[in-house]
Symmetry: D2
Subunit: 136 residues, 4 copies
Amino acid sequence: MTFSMNQKVLFKHCDPAGIVFYPRYFEMINDCVEAFFAECGTPFEVLLKSAGVPTVQIAATFTAPSRHGDQLVLALDVLRIGASSLDLEINADADAGAARRFTANSTLVYLGVAGRPTKWPDALRLSFTSHLRSTP
Amino acid sequence: MTFSMNQKVLFKHCDPAGIVFYPRYFEMINDCVEAFFAECGTPFEVLLKSAGVPTVQIAATFTAPSRHGDQLVLALDVLRIGASSLDLEINADADAGAARRFTANSTLVYLGVAGRPTKWPDALRLSFTSHLRSTP
Amino acid sequence: MTFSMNQKVLFKHCDPAGIVFYPRYFEMINDCVEAFFAECGTPFEVLLKSAGVPTVQIAATFTAPSRHGDQLVLALDVLRIGASSLDLEINADADAGAARRFTANSTLVYLGVAGRPTKWPDALRLSFTSHLRSTP
Amino acid sequence: MTFSMNQKVLFKHCDPAGIVFYPRYFEMINDCVEAFFAECGTPFEVLLKSAGVPTVQIAATFTAPSRHGDQLVLALDVLRIGASSLDLEINADADAGAARRFTANSTLVYLGVAGRPTKWPDALRLSFTSHLRSTP
């Protein structure tokens, strides 16, 4: 089941060309991942008290520019659940899905108290599973 | 003696109107204060390991817009040194001082390990004194 | 009638001390003003096609730190409606209003096509009036 | 010839874990590309008056975290010069090159007045050539 987050393009996101400044897209992506973890039952503000979930790699293709006022929907799917890693794909569309704005793929790693890759807690792993793309 | 920091207006600072988005000015101000503490011999990355220096109030007047490519100079003066507080004024000019862009006044507070207002360390206080506006 | 906007404190807002980095508060304030104009019937993405509403001054007092996960409510009141200016007060609270986090006062100016201060359009002025603090 | 830019890790770049928040890395990368174009004789503030150079794709691997105070060097190489595109690689190191922090690959496209992909101006193309990785 795809997780989705609405994000209107605001004044702060836009550059002198009137389109989203791409580092702001990565903030949106981070917000989406944060909302996804909250949906999975473990909000970042709880998880990060004793752990870390750094993004270790991310790749994005910006298909078309987004303008101030555009209503974006970021759709997040889990592609792969590793022992301590998580591969995500996040697509952003406007116009009710008719216009792709970007596609991003990222890998997160779960770090335990000692800052070392650690197995995902069972509850989180189970939640991730329900968002695996192959899950109907 | 006024402390100054050069800051070119970059693409990332500018909004759809092609001028600096004002929250970015506050990032510049924070960078200037950070550079000032380094100049005073106690860089933030050292100071903040065991203390905090939150900004508790700030007021700014944006006299004229700044455009992409403008060469700003931020000039910082110490206005008052309290037991655990510090009042600063930061002015930003372009065109070699001919064009004022903003004036900001802020108050910082020094918090010790327990998170409580604490007397400034002597070395820092001495450095601040040399940047008091009344000092020739 | 006070206009209000909910804003959870997210990971991106927080600094190494685990509290909101104050320039991020000014982004929240800008978002709140943007949402207020949309509520007033003239969203920024429409208004800014032919006009500007720069913030010409702003002052904020940060009463207490906000932490990751805090549920803030930003409450905006109109204090004064000038011919081409607007004075606002924005207060942010957590814990359902029990904990003030900051108070900010700002002045916006309405600039017409020529970039000069211009009278507010009647429809906007009327909407502002309904948010004047003195209005019951 | 590699183009390089120094970037100290500042307070504003860091998250509650005390390391660089990765969207901030993309701001650094954008600053580096902007400085590179200035070095190539066509600063963004001139180029963007009549053209655009959006980033159409970018991929980054974050090898190790960067901490507040780290002195980074971003090194930019041109990998390929297309008719209207440019492939770049940007590597960031700390400790005088001993510690890789991230590797990023991006593609920019040159858009002319009409917003369509347009051949790079000859002067820019020539400058890019001198920064091709294979050039000794």
